[in-house]
Symmetry: C2
Subunit: 291 residues, 2 copies
């Protein structure tokens, strides 16, 4: 009995195979080009395990159609990556693999990985953000993704400009929303160099932390989750989480009593593996549900 994972990212795909204990036995990665080419590699990888493969979990870049009763369920929909627009991802897999295939966003998959194995283990409610080239978020309560007419797009929430920040924001839709002010490209545009080249004591990080703290603040008031996890490249700056704690506490002003801050606003314990483990756990859940 094997489970498959597909992390379908905008720049690369990561596919993995795990045994029934969800121990990863094989993992491959290839660049995201066009569906014909990339999906051919995906299918070739999993065909090696076809006899034992019980289910596949997919976490995809989006937006995607998650409504099981929709004609375009399992499609990537209005992505700016033109070759992938209206691509029938789940249908393409189903033609070759007649097994349960779960379908959610890349950030929901990472959130689920942390919920099952990471910082959310044993908790009831988790919100996960990735802060990288974009900002995305996913929320889980009692094993269910928070969603409705579609999956969330949390990275585009509104933020109040920091008084020392002259940057106008670079979100093509909203200008100075959270993603437009705090994703990697915004940091680079503001500072004139990449985040990894900016020293930890540069004031630009205080500005960055103030936006992440606003995100944590809104998340606290709208979900009151048990934990808020911030992953992604920007949060690999290890000094960031403590700056976010301070800015968050100042904003919240003791209005509600959250769990202890060190356990409440955290970075992912699975690091970059959260998405793969999330896809695997979703695949196993789908398999157990069917059998």
């Amino acid at each position: 009995m094997l489970y498959g994972s597909i992390e379908a990212g905008g720049t690369k795909f990561v596919c993995a195979i795990a045994n029934e204990h969800l121990e990863i036995t094989e993992r491959v990665s290839f660049p995201t080009t066009v569906p014909e080419e990339t999906m051919k590699q995906v299918i070739a990888f999993f065909e090696q395990y076809k006899n034992e493969l019980a289910a596949i979990g997919v976490g995809s870049f989006g937006p995607i159609d998650i409504h099981q009763d929709s004609k375009t369920y399992g499609y990537i929909t209005s992505t700016p990556k033109l070759a992938w627009q209206n691509f029938d991802f789940v249908g393409t897999l189903k033609k070759v693999f007649d097994i349960p295939i779960t379908w959610t966003t890349d950030v929901n998959a990472a959130a689920y990985g942390e919920y099952v194995f990471g910082q959310g283990k044993g908790l009831s409610s988790v919100v996960y953000y990735t802060v990288g080239t974009g900002i995305g978020g996913g929320a889980i309560q009692e094993d269910q993704f928070i969603e409705g007419f579609s999956h969330p797009e949390m990275g585009h929430m509104l933020v109040v400009p920091h008084p020392d920040d002259n940057f106008k924001g670079n979100c093509p839709f909203h200008g100075n929303c959270l993603e437009g002010m705090a994703a990697g490209p915004a940091i680079e545009a503001r500072a004139g160099k990449k985040g990894q080249d900016i020293p930890a004591d540069d004031p630009v990080w205080e500005i960055e932390a103030s936006y992440i703290a606003q995100c944590a603040y809104n998340t606290t008031l709208l979900f009151s989750p048990d934990v808020i996890i911030f992953g992604g490249g920007v949060m690999k700056q290890r000094h960031m989480v403590e700056k976010v704690h301070r800015a968050f506490e100042e904003l919240l002003n003791n209005y509600v009593k959250t769990p202890k801050i060190e356990n409440y606003i955290v970075t992912p314990s699975l690091e970059d593996d959260a998405g793969t483990f999330g896809c695997l756990a979703l695949a196993k859940k789908a398999d157990l549900h069917v059998n």
Copy 2:
């Protein structure tokens, strides 16, 4: 078989009795004074029906303790209404009525009323706000309240000041959060008169609509719910909802495809009865769950 409802508001209590079809047969209201006095009236009202009463649903002003495994479950906790601080609401009822008693916030109760009988009927996911002397919000997905370390406090989300607005906000905790900028007292402080005395074409309503629209925008991106319901005194200005639609669409800039705006951002169909019907539905659910 009868069900009871207690809407415990900061200024008045509304108690009701309904039959098993949740048709209201009796309703009383009295001012919120001190627990000894007000709860005596509550208990006297329900004691008339004690033999037939199967369950009571309570929707209370807060903050409240909703964790069943907490020592102070069923308490009103850190409310500014001093006489009610740390008051054991559910325990006080349980001493007299040995039946299931459900316990949630006043706004969650109203959200549940709309979810079961109103604008959320048949939908999977609902977010409800009341915009009145304060702003509160509740979210429901698949019959479960969204909550974690506590219930949400959505009314205090951050908003970006409107460029034509000189008002600095009057939230004692956060100054210019949503409640500080858009609740009834903020409208009155900004305009120098009460909302009901301000004509529909006064520019102050465009400012108000811009804040409610920001709330709808953040709610859309964080929950992607099937519907967002705005109730409360301020939304009784019938011209408001259309102003909110316009401001919301401008903010969203077609980034995600929501349901049709007229069906997506709406006012409550149960009007002021949402809370009572929500409490009754929660009471019935608890009774059916036990039996």
